[in-house]
């Protein structure tokens, strides 16, 4: 009997449950997809360093999953509370008929079990399908080979998903049980009859609050973008807090204000069903201020994460070609008493009896130079105060790298980049890290000469030039001076000993072999322990990089950022869409009588559905609009930090983000619009 009742209930409220069920299915499938990456990628061909990165990714994803499950759990509790409220009359009827609260809870339990199991099953099925696509995405992100790929099902992920969602359902049951236990028959009986009171907020107050909120928001926007340099963590948090509070205030005041504005435009307000539509929207927004705020902030985070993560990933991959133009690099130096001293590479290899250059086609062995005569402070001149004030975190005493012109040109020949010409009294400053370049450009404008070992050199260009010496995955050269050879002759300023070269091997396999050999030789020739005992008071830096390592870690980093961004973004989108859809559905269920009245007084069906469409669209667009505005400034702010990674491909990322938004958020909009349309059609 109980089972029959339960099944009937679920069938009857299928319409209400549709969104709930849909959300559960997507939630389960997304959860499965991201937790199954481990086994999905087992079949992909990738090298060991990428494999390590994927392992790191899996660990990070399972960490993020805890957060995601908390978010989804909250969503499910919210959604089920919503459905419970819709059915309070039904529960009252059971109680009137003499059913105990325990029995009612039992009905709910069976229902939840029913819904839970079926959504889990459907979600896992969808998830297993989607995860095959995910493998393709992972393979693409990590540039792995998919040729050996099989259809895979991750048992571990299935169990994990079942356990996590089981716990969520239990929490929901607990909440529902408490809600049933607390409620009184009379309130249950009357809950359907209580018509929502139109609490029209004081319009003047609304306008004032709106203006204050706008000013506050503008202030926060300005601080995170314009005055970004003076921003420390504390201030940043303050700005975020201001942003959240003002968002809340804007939603609190916007509907009242807009309604007032529309009401004063009589021509628009009293046209067709407009006055009904406006009132419906305003009452909807008024009763969901907090949810709207949370949704708006979630959308904001989603847009920023998706856009930023994909853009970082894209730029990282594009950067490799440009910033890592050679195969192999060794850099050895030690720091003793704050001065950088070289550890001679050639000497190390000779001691070990190994040929440094074997296996290399073209190569260069050279020194970087450092001297206390050339620091940022020495470049400052009259700008010293300005720097201290605006860049409090900048170490002005750091010694800047200097390279001989002949070494630089030889290196550029290896890189296949353009060579440089300098007169005897000229120098060039190379820098591609934009924030530092900005600083240098300010300094060079007022002081364009440097004093180096008794000579005066003038900047050839009057500003810094885009360029780098070391291999890197990103534009992070924070400043290297190229000076005529004669200046550094016998200066004794040798700092780091550097070797950069290209393998003579041509094919990928041969290159891999050459790299293995080069690394093995390096390990034999350069031994940290013996060097440390030779220079007991020094801090040693013994670095070896290969293009392959740089590429792999860069791709890996990009992939991790993109996947985690995708995970969080999708979950947030689901939450926002689901909450809005549930709210519109339940509102429409409450408004069925109103639509019937409209029909009775002779309103056109077309006008009624149009009104419904406008209501739903505005309700979905309002938080999205504010979130987009937030995102414009949020992305600008993020841009300062993402500069290192490069953000030149932001356009594609934004397009991708829009597609994601359109699919998930738009999907919820459509589901909610069409089910509402079906609801009001009887």
């Amino acid at each position: 009997m109980l089972f029959k009742l339960t099944l009937g209930n679920v069938k009857r409220s299928l319409r209400d449950y549709a969104v709930y069920f849909f959300t559960l299915v997507i939630g389960v499938s997304i959860f499965y997809v991201f937790n199954a990456i481990d086994s999905q990628t087992a079949f992909l061909k990738m090298n060991e360093s990428t494999r390590d990165i994927v392992r790191l990714l899996v660990n990070m994803l399972s960490g993020v999953s805890v957060f995601v499950s908390a978010v989804l759990g909250l969503l499910i509790v919210y959604a089920s509370r919503f459905l419970m409220k819709r059915r309070s009359r039904e529960f009252a009827l059971y109680q009137l008929l003499g059913m105990s609260k325990g029995r009612i809870s039992a009905i709910l339990l069976t229902e939840s079990l029913f819904i839970g199991l079926s959504s889990l099953g459907a979600g896992l099925a969808v998830g297993i399908g989607l995860s095959q696509l995910m493998s393709a995405l992972v393979a693409d992100l990590f540039e792995a080979d998919m040729s050996d790929y099989h259809f895979t099902v991750s048992l571990f992920a299935i169990i994990k998903t079942a356990v996590y969602f089981g716990i969520m359902y239990l929490v929901v049951l607990l909440f529902n049980g408490i809600a049933i236990g607390k409620c009184r028959l009379i309130t249950l009986l009357q809950s359907g009859r209580k018509s929502e009171r139109q609490r029209l907020k004081n319009p003047i107050l609304c306008v004032i609050v709106f203006i204050i909120a706008s000013i506050g928001l503008g202030y926060a926007y300005k601080n995170v973008t314009g005055n970004f340099r003076t921003l420390n963590n504390k201030r940043l948090l303050a700005m975020i807090a201001i942003g959240c509070v003002t968002t809340l205030l804007i939603f609190w005041s916007v509907s009242g204000m807009l309604l007032r504005i529309f009401m004063s435009i009589k021509k628009v307000y009293h046209k067709g069903l407009n006055c009904f539509t406006f009132r419906q929207i305003s009452s909807k927004v008024n009763t969901t201020v907090v949810s709207m705020t949370v949704i708006c902030l979630m959308l904001f985070v989603t847009i920023c994460t998706l856009a930023a993560s994909f853009s970082v990933r894209n730029s990282l991959n594009a950067n490799i070609k440009e910033y890592c133009p050679a195969d192999f690099e060794i850099a050895l130096y030690r720091i003793e008493n704050n001065t950088v001293k070289p550890i001679d590479i050639k000497e190390q290899y000779e001691q070990a009896g190994i040929e440094l250059t074997s296996g290399f086609e073209d190569y260069l062995l050279f020194y970087m130079h450092n001297t206390p005569q050339l620091t940022i402070k020495s470049l400052c001149g009259e700008n010293y105060g300005y720097l201290l004030e605006n860049y409090p975190f900048l170490d002005l005493d750091i010694q800047l790298d200097i390279i001989k012109l002949s070494d630089y040109n030889a290196l550029m020949e290896i890189y296949g980049h353009e060579q440089l010409k300098l007169n005897d009294d000229e120098y060039t400053l190379l820098c591609n890290y934009t924030s530092m370049a900005d600083i240098y450009n300010v300094l060079l404008k007022s002081k364009n000469d440097i004093q180096l070992f008794g000579k005066t050199l003038y900047s050839r260009d009057g500003k810094c030039v885009d360029g780098a010496v070391y291999l890197s995955s990103q534009p992070i050269n924070a400043g290297i001076f190229v000076v005529p050879d004669s200046v550094l002759e016998n200066s004794g300023s040798e700092a780091a000993s550097i070797f950069i070269g290209n393998y003579s091997a041509k094919t990928d396999e041969e290159k891999e072999k050459a790299e293995e050999n080069a690394l093995a030789s390096y390990r034999k020739a350069v031994d940290r322990d013996s060097l440390q005992s030779k220079y007991p008071d020094s801090v040693l830096t013994l670095s070896v990089q290969t293009k392959r390592d740089i590429t792999d870690s860069s791709i890996g980093l990009g992939g991790i950022i993109a996947l985690i961004g995708l995970y969080i973004g999708v979950v947030f989108l689901i939450c926002s869409g689901a909450v809005l859809a549930l709210k519109t559905l339940s509102d429409t269920a409450d408004s069925l009588g109103r639509y019937e009245t409209l029909r009775n007084i002779g309103a056109d069906e077309k006008d009624i559905t149009r009104s419904l469409f406008i209501q739903t669209a505005v309700f979905f667009l309002l938080p999205l609009a504010l979130a987009s505005l937030h995102s414009v400034f949020g992305m600008k702010f993020a841009g300062f930090f993402l500069e290192v990674f490069g953000t030149q491909r932001i356009g594609i990322s934004i397009a991708l983000t829009c597609i994601m938004l359109a699919i998930i958020y738009g999907g919820y909009f459509l589901i909610s619009y069409f089910s509402q349309k079906a609801m009001i059609k009887k």
Partner: protein, 254 residues
């Protein structure tokens, strides 16, 4: 002048094996400016009759003519247009939109006819004056009494200047004082503005405000009485007599 003519209409519910004749061949007509009440016990078919006249329901056979036009043949969009231009509705439970003020509830009936907002304002105010609700125009339904709500609903029905006002148990949810006030307004509108009102009720007191009462039993017209020059009290007694004759439950009739 004959405004509404109902010709042998029938309305059947159910299947062939289990047929319910809600209306079984009713014919009558209503003149312009008439105030007619239709009485009957629960299940007699009076609300079905009203629903058929108001085009909310469709007749199984027969014809209904309003101003010479057969309304049983109107379909789809035309139906909505006809409903909003020719008919005014008053319901037992008011059917006001609780999100709108009284003013907006009334004006909505005009704005869905795509009328200019200046004309709307004048019409709403005039109609509110007629029903004595000028001072509650800015209030929401939950801030009004039942009587006020029903008068707002009446204003909404009348503001479009319909050919006929159809009222379904308009006093059903009102206390006796509010009911009397409302009915007096109906009489006034009928006298002064020549409004044609067709009202369904099972309450003899309510019916006694009409000029003519039709009694329906089991889907057929059972009797008809006309007020003529009688006082309302005398007419009321006559109605009670018919009801006794009708064999209807007295508690049901009162």
């Amino acid at each position: 002048m004959e405004l509404l003519k109902i010709e042998r209409i029938e309305k059947y519910y159910g299947s062939r094996s289990n047929l319910t004749k809600a209306i079984d061949g009713i014919s009558f007509s209503v003149d312009k400016g008439e105030f007619i009440a239709i009485m009957g016990a629960s299940g007699s078919g009076k609300t079905t009759l009203l629903n058929c006249v108001s085009t909310i329901d469709r007749v199984t056979s027969g014809h209904i003519y309003l101003e010479g036009r057969d309304i049983t043949s109107i379909k789809g969009k035309e139906l909505n247009k006809f409903r909003r231009e020719k008919l005014g509705f008053i319901f037992q439970d008011f059917n006001l939109l609780d999100t709108l003020t009284a003013y907006e509830n009334i004006s909505l009936a005009l704005s869905i006819q795509k009328l200019d907002h200046k004309k709307i304002d004048a019409a709403v105010k005039a109609s509110a004056r007629q029903l004595g609700i000028t001072d509650v125009l800015d209030k929401y339904p939950y801030q009004m009494s039942g009587g006020q709500k029903q008068r707002v609903a009446s204003a909404r029905a009348l503001v479009t200047d319909p050919a006929v006002v159809l009222a379904d148990e308009p006093t059903g949810a009102l206390d006796s004082r509010s009911a009397r006030m409302l009915l007096e307004r109906f009489s006034y509108l009928n006298d002064e503005y020549d409004a044609t009102i067709m009202m369904v009720t099972h309450d003899s007191f309510t019916a006694s405000y009409a000029q003519r009462v039709l009694f329906i039993k089991d889907g057929k017209i059972f009797h008809e009485i006309i007020k003529g020059t009688d006082s309302r009290k005398a007419f009321f007694d006559k109605i009670i007599d018919v009801i006794t004759l009708l064999g209807g439950d007295v508690s049901d009739a009162l």
